[in-house]
């Protein structure tokens, strides 16, 4: 399933970049329609850009606003907190109510998750639905941005957003000095020590920055999100700790310091605990570039202060 969606996304990306290459100066005009989108076995034809979009995915909300399609968004779900100008409603992407969604009279609904046949029910009601589930790689992210760009008639903006992300990411990665030693890190998802391995979207970003993930050798179930034993974290003594649980779970440098056994960790003693924005670290939209910049900054800070 995941491989298939990846293949579809990659194919789509290829197709879109070909199209943009053929008409590099073309602005978003009606002439780029109709757009045919293939999404999880469904084929949809958009004869014009949707004007009443609902996003039930915080990532899709961020993408739609980043590619200047925000003015066409009539409602976003209760988790879509960025940008602040997004029309946040009580709609839920986890426990969606079909009638409430339809009451906005949408012509496109974007979701990242399909609970209880949401997608089929909306399609039965005649609404076009695009499912963009959690990205497995940066290329997935780029493909999703390009897909929303094509559908909303914002191809130019979408490729500008992707181009900008790529530029920021490569310059962040290039700014990390070469080093001989291995730097290990622990990325914390919640205060019961759930973490991510390098096979996950977020884990890949750390690998790109050349860090070694202590969770990689701990994923017996190969699920990508192991719950690490506290003993293991202490024994591995990671050089850097990244907290992605300050919002969800009220964690901070101080709470990490006060945990049993954590006070003696090198990262704690030398103050190499880095606080991430939970939302940015759990989404796969344009702000992913700032996440990589934050990781690069942490590494540079570590190398500068840790002689």
């Amino acid at each position: 399933m995941i491989k298939k969606s990846l293949a579809v996304a990659t194919a789509l990306l290829g197709l879109l970049s070909l199209t943009t290459a053929a008409t590099p100066t073309q602005a978003a005009t009606a002439s780029s329609f109709p757009v045919v989108v293939s999404n999880y076995g469904a084929s949809m034809t958009f004869s014009k850009a949707p004007t009443r979009i609902i996003s039930l995915s915080p990532t899709a909300t961020e993408i739609l606003f980043a590619i200047n399609a925000g003015s066409k968004v009539v409602a976003v779900d209760n988790q879509s907190n960025y940008p602040a100008s997004a029309p946040k409603t009580a709609l839920s992407g986890y426990t969606p109510n079909i009638e409430s969604i339809l009451s906005y009279n949408p012509d496109l609904v974007v979701v990242s998750y399909d609970p209880g046949d949401l997608v089929a029910s909306l399609r039965n009601a005649g609404v076009k639905v695009v499912l963009q589930d959690a990205a497995n790689s940066l290329n997935d992210s780029y493909a999703q941005i390009a897909q929303l760009g094509a559908i909303t008639g914002r191809r130019t903006s979408a490729s500008a957003v992707v181009g900008n992300m790529k530029k920021r990411i490569s310059s962040a990665l290039a700014s990390i000095p070469n080093r001989s030693s291995n730097l290990t890190f622990y990325h914390e998802l919640d205060d019961t020590y759930y973490s991510v391995t390098s096979s996950t979207f977020i884990g890949q970003l750390y690998s790109m920055a050349g860090l070694t993930n202590i969770a990689d050798k701990a994923d017996g179930a190969e699920w990508g999100y192991p719950q690490l034993s506290s003993e293991y974290i202490v024994a591995k003594n990671p050089s850097l700790i990244f907290l992605a649980d300050t919002g969800c779970c009220g964690q901070s440098k101080a709470t990490v310091k006060s945990r049993p056994g954590f006070g003696q960790l090198a990262a704690v003693k030398r103050n190499h605990i880095y606080v991430l924005n939970d939302d940015v670290a759990s989404r796969w939209g344009p702000r992913t570039a700032s996440l990589i910049e934050a990781i690069a900054w942490a590494i540079k800070n570590f190398l500068r202060t840790n002689h």
Binding site: Y94, D190, C249, G250, G261, Q264
Partner: protein, 331 residues
């Protein structure tokens, strides 16, 4: 004597095994030094931290929580003459869950430290509510109406918890990880927090163990035997609730211990609470230490939620005892 020996052996063995392998001599050395055994050299380093700050408090916490849940379960089964009674019967778990959920979704950074407090208050509140409602039931049938009130209160509070949780679905994962129970993050603070309550509770249950045998003849007969049924029931319920609420507040909900351990022991030693309560205290502790050992080592260094282990190991183990007991009786 034999029992406390078995308990200590289990604890020591459990401390020797873990996600990170530490030589047994280092384990004993670390514990001995911290216990100020004379002539011990100071212990330092990662192994010392792992043993003294992480593993030992976790094993001890598992033991006391297991003791509490099993003895509270046995007590409830006796008080209500109901083999399906468990420590959560009167709404402790639902109340604690609601309290914890409120603390989790309220989201303020200070609130996180409040989760144990909130769940403790929720648990005690739920049982107080159950008791108030149940006592006003038909006279002479108090234990039955208490159980019914408990079911109603638990359902009501669970419904409210689900509602609150759905309104804050960004917090669902944290609520679930609390519900499944965890000992992974425990330290001496947690031990210090629950031991006074659990010690007091188990001591009270131990003292009243003979009374539970009198309950088994029924409320009316117990009254004619001169037992102040209402007062005694209130005392044991308060004792069991206090300790269970404290246990739940630091470890989350750990199921099955309160049902499986007393029943397994019943099949082995018979129905007398005089014997059953002390054995449940020791047996529940040993059971949970073993279940936690599996939780932290089976997929090490990945953790398995403890609630899943108690169910996965506990249910077949119980069926095995039930089966072997039956074949034994037929012979």
């Amino acid at each position: 004597m034999v029992c406390s020996g078995a308990a200590i052996v289990t604890i020591v063995l459990a401390v020797c095994v873990g996600a990170i392998s530490v030589p047994a001599t280092d384990v004993l050395h670390s514990i001995a030094w911290h216990l100020k055994v004379p002539y011990m050299s100071k212990t330092v380093g990662t192994n010392d931290i792992i043993i003294w700050q992480l593993r030992l408090p976790r094993v001890i916490l598992a033991f006391v929580v297991g003791s509490m849940l099993a003895s509270a379960g046995a007590t409830y089964q006796g008080t209500f003459r109901n083999p399906l009674a468990d420590p959560y019967l009167l709404g402790v778990s639902a109340g604690a869950g609601l309290g914890a959920t409120f603390a989790i979704v309220s989201g303020a950074h200070v609130s996180h430290a409040l989760i144990p407090v909130a769940s403790f208050v929720g648990a005690m509140g739920a049982v107080a509510l159950t008791y108030t409602l149940g006592r006003s039931g038909i006279s002479g049938r108090v234990s039955g109406s208490l159980v019914l009130a408990g079911v109603a209160v638990a359902n009501l509070l669970t419904a409210i918890q689900t509602l609150v949780q759905q309104q804050h679905n960004d917090k669902i994962r944290e609520v679930y990880s609390w519900v499944l129970g965890t000992l992974n993050t425990s330290g001496w603070n947690d031990v210090r927090m629950v031991v006074p309550y659990i010690a007091l509770s188990t001591f009270m249950l131990y003292r009243y163990r003979r009374v539970l045998d009198v309950f088994s003849v029924g409320d009316e007969e117990a009254t004619t035997l001169g037992l102040p049924v209402e007062r005694v029931r209130a005392i044991v319920i308060i004792a069991a609730t206090l300790g269970t609420a404290a246990a739940v507040s630091v470890t989350g909900l750990i199921g099955f211990v309160g049902i499986i351990v007393p029943h397994a022991l019943r099949l082995l030693v018979g129905n007398s609470y005089r014997v059953l309560i002390p054995l449940s205290i020791v047996g529940g502790g040993i059971f949970l230490v073993c279940a936690d050992l599996i939780a932290r080592t089976a997929l090490a260094p990945t953790e398995i939620p403890i609630g899943i282990v108690t169910a996965l190991i506990g249910a077949p183990f119980f069926l095995y005892i039930l089966g072997s007991r039956r074949t034994g009786a037929e012979k």
